[in-house]
Symmetry: C2
Subunit: 514 residues, 2 copies
């Protein structure tokens, strides 16, 4: 009979060490960092070393941060410095006392390694992973490893169901007093496909609840939250969000500020940095956010084309079927719309530029991009139908009417005011047109590289930056005619985008006049 | 015919911006960081943001560093602060002028993503990856993704050949004036398996060149370089290393300081942090280092057992065959020895503790661990045979003789003096025995968890920390008899190790007296 090793020794839990917090004024972006003097007593007694992961706790809050050791008098031995994100996450104030200890390592990471070697995880194991991720126990390296493992081609329906459910459970879930709660989502990769603000305005104007939470950009030059933010505040607390919905039946806010599916926010950051997307995480990300937001129905727009995320109809249907199946298992009705992904939607790529497209559609301007208008009405129509507000097949007509009669614009203004005030999207300081080097017909537009140009120009971090298109597929163009303009906030970013363009022929491919 | 977009615009290359370097005194361990004022002109004109990757260049050197933005008067707008590792890598001096620009992104990362989706890479593509990694163009997230991808079970012989060759080409290669150059390597996971210093001493004493470069620990409580460093300096320049070899025919130095297979050093750091190992990278790491070191022959020891890296004879032979095949393709003769991996070797686990075992073997102490002695002689004997210094089958006998007659100890002392001086390994300040909770026979010893105890106790960063075994498999033990002791440099680390032990029965499993 095997006996366990002796437990005669009583391990001493080290007493938490108290230091005074200093806001050190260093921006480490999204990775919380704590700074300690190398010779401070706590470092020596706890055996802390540079890059150790520490649990940092005030009386009210607790975070996990990476340690950087200080060898100068930037701090005294009794002080702990925090980087900007750490300061914010901890809701810290100058001179707050803080206790430090080694952070729990993410014990679930061994499950990720098991996945690597082909083991299938069950629901509970996915929950362990999601829970550790949501609690910031994964290092960036571990997150990257998990994202990479999820990108294998052999993940199953069960993986999708389990990961989605696990991500819902790892955060808060909203509950509403309405019998139905509508939601929508566009799978990305299609620049300018910014239908949400228009769809929300139409649907809310039709009397259907649509409390929309949206993401910031993952790998695109703008996410819905980035674009909306150029028009109205989006970082609303849950309480404020409920007030807006109570008042207007709709809202468009940043999901991250109401902490739904917190694991998703962590993973999105890593996916963005790696520029990796995969179906498993796409489904889990979208549906976990919708379920957590309390949606009963969701319409998903999947653009299909050679230069967007979903490249073929076959892939689109596979993704679509899986989303519907996962939704069925988890109590949310999923309807999918496949749309054209061959060229950008609207004219703008980048937060402010897309916002201007949205305003022109809502305001009924004759300059409004027709494709954006059509897509928004198609999606809003689909929602009206699954909400049983419009008969099958007539949703689009109803949606157009609401838009054309000005009800959507009125509702949108009301929503923006309720969220904190409608504002004018900023204009970029530096613009440069890119013109056609020959006459002919526009035969192809490369969405991916156009999006890259917009990103190099500064989008979405610089909200006014991006690309403004002046032409569309199949247009005839003349020699020297502007095809698109680059908008940037700094000469350096403008130059960076132009430099990239120099080596990129055929982003807009022009061919012979037929 | 498709025409390219206009190149009428001439993009302006932004002039490099010169700032004055400051050593900011922050230790970010191995990730180079540069600190700039958020309001400095260069940040605005270049569009730098927190976490941007920058190329940082003095007139003589250049590094890639991650940007942290400063929002206080820690720096003036005309200054650039560097973290400790960045300062060292750049060989910087106070007030040096430095030019900053966006770092080239690692263009080869798209190849890693292709691997993810099942594409097989060719030799040239592996070279692009290895080259980018060696030049520090991969972010930590990208490195983690690559390590994860390499951990798939379907990597091939060609992958191993190509990655190994690519890693050799990404760094320097040493050339020696001797007809043969011997080397050895132990696949890890077996705590205390520290044969190298003894083997090198025996082989060099026999007149065979063995310029040994070794690693620091990846996922173990000690690497050969860590252990050797408790006895003599290991961070020798190439020039000094050659001098030692010229004088003594052998050396044991840290490979990292002679920049062989630089991609390997970068990858090892990430593998260590993730605690991920895989055959592809193991082979490429070992053989690229040996080939780069100029070895013509290498003996590889693969311990096999349920709680070490290689779990079964089948896996061992698969790994072994692949190593021999890769070696054949790349011009290095590989001989493999399979050994017992069921319990730690020697008594010590951790740099100083293992060093003491080595000294006792070399010095012919009657306290010397017999298993360590036997293994060292077996490996040294294998080397003597493939070097044709001993007849087939008699290598081990020759090796023992060299050891017993004191030649190996004499040679070891000479090597240490040549490397900078033999020193006494430090002793840990805090020790605590772990005793048997019942009488019986030792039926099992869990290497992995013992290694973890040693690491929690502080090894290898705290060189004197680790575990000292007092018993072996099949020993009879009495109630209360010490099974092993934990050695630590700080009470916090000792407590951390004991806390772990509390929840870990059966690390040393004791059963009924037969």
């Amino acid at each position: 009979m095997i006996q366990k090793t002796s437990d005669v020794i009583t391990p001493i839990s080290p007493a938490p060490q108290s230091l005074r917090l200093r806001r050190i004024g260093i921006d480490t972006y999204q990775e919380p960092v704590i700074y300690l003097r190398a010779d401070s007593p706590v470092c020596r007694s706890e055996g802390f070393a540079a890059q150790s992961r520490l649990r940092v706790a005030t009386r009210q809050h607790e975070i996990v941060a990476t340690l950087n050791m200080v060898h100068s008098d930037l701090l005294t031995p009794g002080e702990a410095g925090l980087s900007e994100i750490a300061w914010q996450q901890l809701a810290a104030r100058h001179d707050d006392l803080v206790a430090l200890s080694h952070a729990d390592t993410a014990s679930s990471f061994r499950l990720v390694k098991a996945m690597l070697h082909g083991h299938r995880l069950d629901a509970e194991q996915y929950q362990c992973i999601a829970s550790d991720i949501a609690a910031n126990r994964y290092t960036d390296l571990q997150l990257s490893s998990f994202v990479t493992v999820c990108t294998r081609d052999d993940t199953t329906l069960d993986d999708a169901i389990n990961l989605t459910r696990a991500m819902v459970k790892a955060g808060e879930q909203l509950h509403w007093d309405y019998p139905v709660i509508m939601d929508k989502h566009c799978v990305g990769g299609l620049p300018g496909n910014r239908t949400t603000p228009i769809v929300v305005a139409i649907v809310a104007a039709a009397g259907i609840p649509i409390p929309k939470t949206s993401s910031r950009a993952i790998t695109s030059p703008a996410g819905t939250a980035d674009t909306m933010e150029t028009l109205a505040p989006v970082n609303l607390s849950l309480k404020r969000m409920r007030q807006v919905v109570e008042q207007e039946l709709g809202c468009i806010v940043w999901g991250g500020s109401v902490a739904l599916s917190p694991a998703d926010d962590v993973l999105i950051r890593v996916q963005r940095a790696l520029q990796i997307d995969n179906h498993l995480q796409l489904i889990a990300s979208v549906l976990s956010k919708k379920i957590a937001a309390g949606a009963t129905h969701v319409v998903i727009d999947i653009p299909v084309g050679p230069t967007v995320k979903v490249r073929s109809d076959i892939e689109a249907r596979r993704l679509s079927d899986r989303m519907v199946s996962v939704g069925q298992q988890l109590g949310i009705q999923v309807a999918v719309v496949l749309s054209d992904g061959n060229q950008p939607v609207g004219r703008g790529i980048g937060p402010s530029l897309e916002a201007r497209d949205i305003l022109s559609v809502l305001q009924g301007s004759d300059k409004a991009p027709q494709d954006l208008l059509d897509r928004a009405c198609r999606l809003a129509g689909e929602i009206l139908e699954i909400a049983n507000t419009a008969p099958a097949g007539l949703g689009q007509i109803h949606a157009r009417k609401i838009l054309q009669e000005g009800h959507a614009w009125k509702k949108f203004q009301a929503i923006c005011e309720a969220q904190g005030g409608l504002r004018e999207p900023l204009t970029a300081r530096y613009t440069q047109p890119v013109t056609a080097s020959r006459a002919g017909q526009v035969l192809s537009i490369d969405n991916r590289r156009l999006a890259k140009v917009a990103k190099l120009a500064g989008a979405p971090a610089a909200a006014a930056a991006g690309v403004l298109l002046h032409t569309r597929l199949h247009n005839q163009v003349m020699l020297g005619e502007p095809l698109f303009s680059i908008h940037a906030e700094t000469p350096g970013e403008l130059s960076y985008a132009l430099h990239f363009l120099k080596n990129q022929p055929d982003i807009i491919g022009i061919g012979e006049n037929p």
